[in-house]
């Protein structure tokens, strides 16, 4: 079965079957902000209601993947439940919590950001201008991505999208600060990667001793600021934490 479409006063939803244990719900309002707020509110509502058989929801930009146990419930039941959630949100409005703010020190370029020069050249900017644009913006964390809950953000105001590396690296260090396309991200853990690494933060983003591992949630805000390479060691052992 293809998508079923439902329209509420806020937005139009397409619900797609995604196997026997998941549904993809896509918001189609025509406005990216509204779509994003809708799928994240829906994910929050699903998590808060804690229905038997629903494992959880993975919201990104305009869609949310709802995963469930096909023994305890079914695609049909979950679909009905999603629609109930949308009617509920229609009534109370999309409520996202007050954003927290994070400030992230970054050493740009050199060994810390081996792709900085390449990005500058491709953008037709000088290196200082790339850094200035990257530190100028307050980023909204749009969703948690792979690997390990990476904070996915809309990228800096660059003239053109940043192409991915032709040969992805087998290992990018934790704390790598990268850009690709129109997106920006910090790597919480060592992983392979094809994004352009322009810097690195000395802060520890992922704490395996803490649940849920990373300190931010979608909707939180983040800014980068520049530090000199010799200060990198001063932050050793410090965790990324929300500004009080």
């Amino acid at each position: 079965m293809a998508a079923t479409t439902t329209t509420t006063s806020q937005t139009t939803l397409d619900i797609y079957e995604s196997g026997d244990a998941a549904l993809r719900v896509v918001a189609r309002s025509g406005d990216a902000e509204t779509n994003w707020a809708t799928v994240h509110s829906l994910a929050g509502w699903l998590a808060a209601t804690g229905v038997e058989g629903i494992h959880g929801a993975v919201p990104t930009y305009d869609s949310v993947l709802v995963e469930f146990d096909p023994y305890l419930t079914s695609a049909r039941q979950v679909r009905a439940f999603v629609l109930l959630g949308m009617r509920q949100l229609d009534f109370v409005g999309t409520t996202l919590r007050e954003p927290r703010r994070f400030e992230v020190p970054v050493v740009y370029g050199g060994d810390y950001g081996p792709d900085l020069d390449r990005v500058a050249e491709h953008q037709g900017l000088d290196v200082e201008d790339v850094i200035a644009r990257h530190t100028a913006k307050t980023y909204v964390i749009r969703c948690l991505g792979a690997p390990a809950g990476s904070p996915m953000m809309d990228g800096p105001d660059f003239p053109v999208p940043v192409p991915r590396l032709k040969d992805p690296r087998l290992s990018v260090p934790a704390g790598a600060v990268s850009v690709a396309g129109r997106q920006a991200v910090i790597a919480p853990a060592v992983a392979p990667g094809g994004w352009c690494v322009i810097g690195q933060t000395p802060l520890t983003v992922l704490d395996a001793a803490r649940e849920p591992l990373v300190p931010y949630v979608p909707g939180d805000e983040l800014r980068f600021y520049r530090i000199p390479a010799e200060d990198f060691g001063n932050f050793a052992g410090q965790f990324l934490e929300a500004r009080p």
């Binding site: 079965m1 293809a2 998508a3 797609y16 079957e17 995604s18 196997g19 026997d20 244990a21 998941a22 993809r24 994910a43 998590a47 494992h55 959880g56 929801a57 993975v58 919201p59 990104t60 930009y61 305009d62 869609s63 949310v64 993947l65 995963e67 146990d69 096909p70 023994y71 079914s74 695609a75 969703c143 948690l144 991505g145 792979a146 690997p147 390990a148 809950g149 990476s150 996915m152 396309g181 853990a189 060592v190 992983a191 992922l206 395996a208 649940e211 849920p212 591992l213 990373v214």
Partner: protein, 337 residues
């Protein structure tokens, strides 16, 4: 009383469970036993809860020594199991006496086997699961000499003089084959592949050696996306079939990154994901189209089979005084007695 065992030859083994179902909401893959049916069956046969920690062995031979009396069950791909040198049955509970070596050799036809121990293991957990996550760096590293603590010991219940297997429960083992037929449902983006989507059902695909718990790579005729527009990152389900390159089909399994920007051509059913977990490099895979309703029915039939097994085990173990089941003297009298 707590028991323990010592790993003598780890091969490629991990302690896992049915997975970190809370993980994807935090950007972590679900992971956990790749062949869920075999893992659940092992735990049930050992008198455990379905989701209790157990050993998953991949491809390589494995040996461990019981330091206390234990009750184990081994499921998954066909293999040679010996306990204290005695040939022992797979897919049945087996008693292991203190000091005896449990050896698994020659895993064949499939790729993965499971060893559950009655009382399970005391192991660290993250977001409600002990399943290893290689990206986060979570999970026990099983090396030679590693001691696993079990929550209970079980007095020997095999026939002591002849070592005959005591249990003949006769579970219907799943069939293992080198050319499995894998059921899939249409993916949410199937339309983007136009007529080429049909190639998925007319091609024999070869399992590539680059396959792992993250995904299987399959060589063969590839459906091709007809659009060039960029795809926003989306949550992708376990079982998603993508065509990320011109070389291979990618079938995501339980170690998959939670989000990706490739269109989803089809999704493997829950039951067939267990079969894919047993596919070795060189095996050939064919795909068959089904519906979500049929896939759900098939999955539930398998679950009910496991439920029946659980009832049998509860009765047998109860009579033998293993675990918390009913004892024979606690059963209600048969009618007419």
């Amino acid at each position: 009383m707590t028991g323990s065992l010592i790993i003598l030859q780890p091969g490629h083994s991990v302690v896992t469970d049915l997975g970190r179902t809370k993980g994807p909401a935090y950007g972590l893959p679900v992971n956990g036993a790749l062949d869920q049916f075999s893992a659940k069956a092992a735990n049930i046969l050992a008198g455990n809860a379905d989701n209790d920690p157990l050993l998953e062995l991949t491809a390589l031979d494995f040996r461990m020594r019981a330091t206390t009396d234990l009750l184990i069950a081994v499921t998954g791909a066909p293999l040679d199991l010996t306990v204290g040198g005695r040939e022992s049955p797979q897919w049945e509970p087996v008693s292991v006496r203190a000091g005896e070596v449990v050896a698994v050799r020659g895993i064949r036809t499939g790729l993965r086997a499971y060893i559950a121990v009655h009382g399970s293991f005391t192991v660290p957990s993250l977001l409600g699961s002990c399943a290893p996550d290689t990206v986060v760096g979570f999970g026990l590293k099983l090396v030679e000499g590693f001691r696993l603590e079990t929550r209970t010991t079980t007095a020997p219940i095999t026939q002591p003089h002849f070592g005959l297997p005591l249990f003949r429960l006769g579970i219907t083992k799943p069939a293992f084959t080198t050319n499995p037929v894998i059921d899939v449902t249409d993916g949410p983006d199937v339309a983007e592949f136009g007529d080429t989507a049909g190639l998925l059902f007319t091609t024999q695909y070869a399992v590539s050696p680059r396959s792992n718990h993250i995904g299987l790579r399959l060589g063969g005729a590839l459906p091709e996306r007809q659009l060039t527009s960029e795809v926003l990152s989306r949550g992708v389900p376990v079982g998603a079939i993508e065509v990320p390159s011109r070389d291979e089909l990618l079938v995501l399994h339980r170690g998959r990154g939670v989000t990706a920007g490739y269109p989803v051509l089809a999704v493997v059913t829950s039951r067939s994901l267990d079969l894919l977990a047993q596919a070795r490099p060189g095996h050939t895979v064919t795909f068959r189209r089904t519906t979500v309703a049929e896939a759900t029915a098939t999955h539930r039939t398998a679950c009910l089979e496991l439920e029946r097994l659980r009832q049998t085990i509860n009765t047998v173990f109860g009579l033998l005084g293993i675990g918390a089941g009913q004892r024979w003297y606690e059963l209600s009298p048969a009618s007419g007695a």
